[in-house]
């Protein structure tokens, strides 16, 4: 048992930490908000660094890294709320390979030449998947339609539905989608992909919370009122201490979930779901406290807290209602409700 990064993982964290710090600045985040929540230049740099397909098996044209290694990169991505659909893409890339999609498609996605995503919600009777994460920019959309895992390849709309978190959400027509897998195989592959998405987004939330808390500490040390730093007021300290305690717990649970999912352990899906729910809750709590302790400036568009505040709300909701996720968790743990 080793609950810290290995030396290699530390090196990966530093390399991608530098890349995102350089290329996904708050300015680029804001610039992407003016468009559809996507920065194509940043995507090209990630492609050059081999990130989009890093956790796809080598035989499928990927980098052969583990889900845990990918999570190390996702943590850095989350810290910078970087406007590229890294998690959806990476999870979909793994799904396509394991569900036996055409080789040419798998390799084009693994390399990042095509952007892929998955629609976590149900596909409507008219074949439309609504508010698909990264739907505005994805060339490839995988979904669960009835008992099948389906994949559609189409030109992305390039425009997002305007939303709180400036995420590239868009409706996608999947009526022409091809079936990749059916029945039990489809269910297994899809559940695994969703568990991967949840565990990785939980890690992203840990990155987001860690970064926003660092902003909170820096600001409250430097901002003076009544002749002292506001960070010396115990009320402020205790709010930040509670938020960092929850965020640290969320980070540990998130990486524990990734490890369990990666190892194919029976409790993987349960931990992934729990980690996401708790990660989102603590991420929102951290952004709320840090916004509050910035006073009026926290509410201003000029400061970066608001960028984090909105994404902390948005990331989880891409999955649907949080209460529905809790209900699924309860069904698995407690048995279904009586009719």
């Amino acid at each position: 048992m080793r609950t810290r990064y290995s030396e290699d993982q530390q090196a990966v964290a530093e390399a991608f930490g530098d890349l995102f710090a350089r290329e996904a600045t708050p300015e680029t985040v804001r610039a992407a908000e003016a468009g559809c929540g996507f920065d194509p230049g940043l995507w090209r740099k990630l492609v050059a660094a081999g990130a989009p397909g890093m956790a796809v098996p080598v035989t499928d044209g990927g980098g052969g890294a583990s889900l845990v290694d990918l999570a190390v990169v996702v943590h850095e991505w989350g810290r910078r709320i970087a406007p590229v659909p890294l998690v959806e893409h990476a999870v979909c890339a793994r799904l396509l390979g394991s569900a036996g999609a055409q080789r040419e498609l798998v390799t084009a996605v693994s390399s990042g030449e095509l952007i892929a995503t998955l629609a976590p919600g149900p596909v409507g009777p008219d074949g439309t998947a609504r508010l698909v994460p990264a739907g505005a920019v994805a060339d490839v959309v995988a979904a669960k339609h009835g008992d099948n895992v389906v994949v559609a390849r189409a030109r992305p709309p390039g425009a997002a539905r305007p939303n709180t978190a400036d995420l590239p959400l868009a409706d996608r027509d999947l009526s022409d989608a091809e079936t990749l897998a059916s029945g039990a195989a489809a269910a297994g592959a899809w559940d695994r992909a969703l568990a991967e998405w949840k565990a990785l987004m939980a890690v992203a939330y840990a990155g987001l919370a860690g970064e926003v808390l660092a902003m909170g500490v820096a600001y409250t040390k430097q901002r003076h009122q009544f002749g002292v730093p506001v960070g010396s007021f115990q009320a402020v300290q205790h709010g930040l201490a509670d938020a960092s305690t929850r965020s640290e717990g969320a980070r540990l649970l998130a990486f524990r979930a990734v490890c369990a999912v990666d190892a194919g352990r029976a409790d993987g899906a349960r931990l992934a779901s729990m980690a996401l729910l708790f990660g989102a809750e603590s991420g929102r709590f951290a952004t709320d406290r840090v916004l509050q302790y910035h006073g009026g400036y926290g509410y201003s568009a000029e400061y970066d807290v608001q960028l984090y505040y909105r994404r902390a709300a948005g990331w989880l909701l891409q999955l649907g209602e949080p209460a529905a996720e809790v209900a699924r968790l309860a069904d698995a743990d407690l048995g279904p409700k009586a009719a």
């Binding site: 990064y5 040390k221 640290e248 309860a330 407690l334």
Partner: protein, 389 residues
């Protein structure tokens, strides 16, 4: 990075479970209702297995159990609600004695504590000082090669069953408070000691202890004169390793699930089919997994030889505050029935949830209050300026 328990630790878990199946009885758990969360038979059995001395670090002459195994032992003890308050105290006391004690304490007291034959208790808190533990006023005055101790301690838990108290005293009142403290290991049968019960809202008895011209040879001194703060810091360090407290909630959650399945509401429906109830149960289980992640993380750090500090404060803060919340939720869930105590024959599971509800607040007070832990996180983790307001 790998959060999976090593196979060795899982084998050890099975061994602990087997041990508890053999040695821990329902009567032992019920007997703690007299307020003493200690079972002599269980304590001896744990010591006989070598787990008490095992928990003492190897470099001090203990068994040096791997911290991951120790974590598993503490997890299982808590999940089974084993009354083991004296275990952690004994391990801390032995560690302090082996690190700072001289021959007399090392050869007489330490072996008796390690074998489970004798018990220790901790005399830090006083009527006028708790969080500010260094403000202790109990006075020890040197008289030739003897010491004379006068004063009183509050919350000397287990003193009424223990053989020794690790006593924090003031030996120099004229220097800054941290520099005038000295520790002693005091046999509780020494003349001049009085022990009075302190009853609590929970089923937990503590004590006020009084020291009236207690005369002690210098061989009972622990550490250097006026260097008691160094010894105190050692105690806090060892306490982090052995302090369980990460798993108070699971028995409450299990009881709540059981009740929610059995109970029927006026309309005939089962609470377990109510979304609100299901939500609270799952939310509580999420907190338990957070606690487990903290526990495994600190154990893994200790196992690598990395010293952790603030992580321990975070774990305790999160576990105790979430436990309080869970107890309140599930008490409410049961309505008036939740109020029934174990004295009522109809109380669900002998009033387990009700008992935990009364116990929970203390976990956010003893062993460092939640406020003190938040201060430690703010200063030690976030690097915020020290606050005095």
């Amino acid at each position: 990075m790998d959060f999976t328990m090593p196979a060795r630790a899982e084998d050890f878990r099975a061994e602990v479970q087997q041990f508890l199946a053999e040695h821990l009885t329902g009567e032992m758990i019920a007997a703690t209702r007299d307020g003493t969360i200690h079972s002599p038979a269980l304590h001896r059995a744990i010591a006989d297995r070598g787990w008490l001395s095992g928990a003492v670090p190897a470099e001090l002459g203990g068994g040096g159990m791997d911290p991951v195994d120790l974590c598993v032992l503490l997890e299982e003890l808590q999940l089974h609600q084993a009354p083991a308050d004296a275990l952690g105290v004994a391990v801390v006391a032995v560690s302090m004695i082996l690190e700072h004690g001289r021959d007399h304490l090392r050869s007489t007291v330490a072996p008796r504590l390690m074998s489970g034959e004798a018990l220790a208790c901790l005399g830090y808190s006083e009527p006028e000082s708790g969080s500010d533990v260094a403000a202790a006023r109990t006075r020890a005055v040197r008289d030739g090669d003897r010491w004379v101790i006068n004063g009183s301690k509050m919350w000397t838990t287990l003193a009424h069953v223990a053989d020794y108290v690790l006593l924090l005293t003031r030996t120099d009142p004229d220097v800054p408070k941290h520099r005038g403290l000295t520790f002693f290991v005091v046999p509780l049968d020494t003349a001049g000691i009085e022990i009075q019960a302190v009853e609590t809202m929970g089923n937990e008895r503590s004590n006020a202890t009084f020291y009236d011209d207690v005369v002690l040879g210098d061989e009972w001194r622990l550490g250097e004169v006026n260097d008691g703060w160094t010894v105190m810091k050692t105690a806090l360090k060892y306490e982090r390793g052995i302090a369980g407290g990460q798993f108070p909630s699971p028995p409450v959650i299990e009881a709540a699930v059981d009740w929610a399945r059995r109970a029927r509401r006026a309309d005939g429906s089962r609470p377990i089919d109510d979304d609100e109830v299901r939500h609270k149960l799952m939310r509580a289980m999420i907190d338990v997994e957070v606690c487990r992640s903290f526990a495994y993380h600190t154990a893994a750090l200790a196992s690598e030889g990395a010293m952790f500090g603030v992580e321990g404060s975070m774990t305790k803060l999160f576990a105790s505050e979430s436990y309080k919340k869970h107890c309140a939720w599930f008490l409410d869930m049961m309505g008036a029935e939740g109020l029934l105590t174990h004295d009522d024959p109809g109380a669900h599971m002998d009033g387990l949830i009700e008992e935990h509800f009364r116990h929970a607040p203390v976990t956010a007070i003893y062993g460092g209050t939640s406020e003190i832990n938040r201060n430690l996180v703010a200063e030690g983790w976030l690097g915020l300026p020290r606050s005095r307001s």
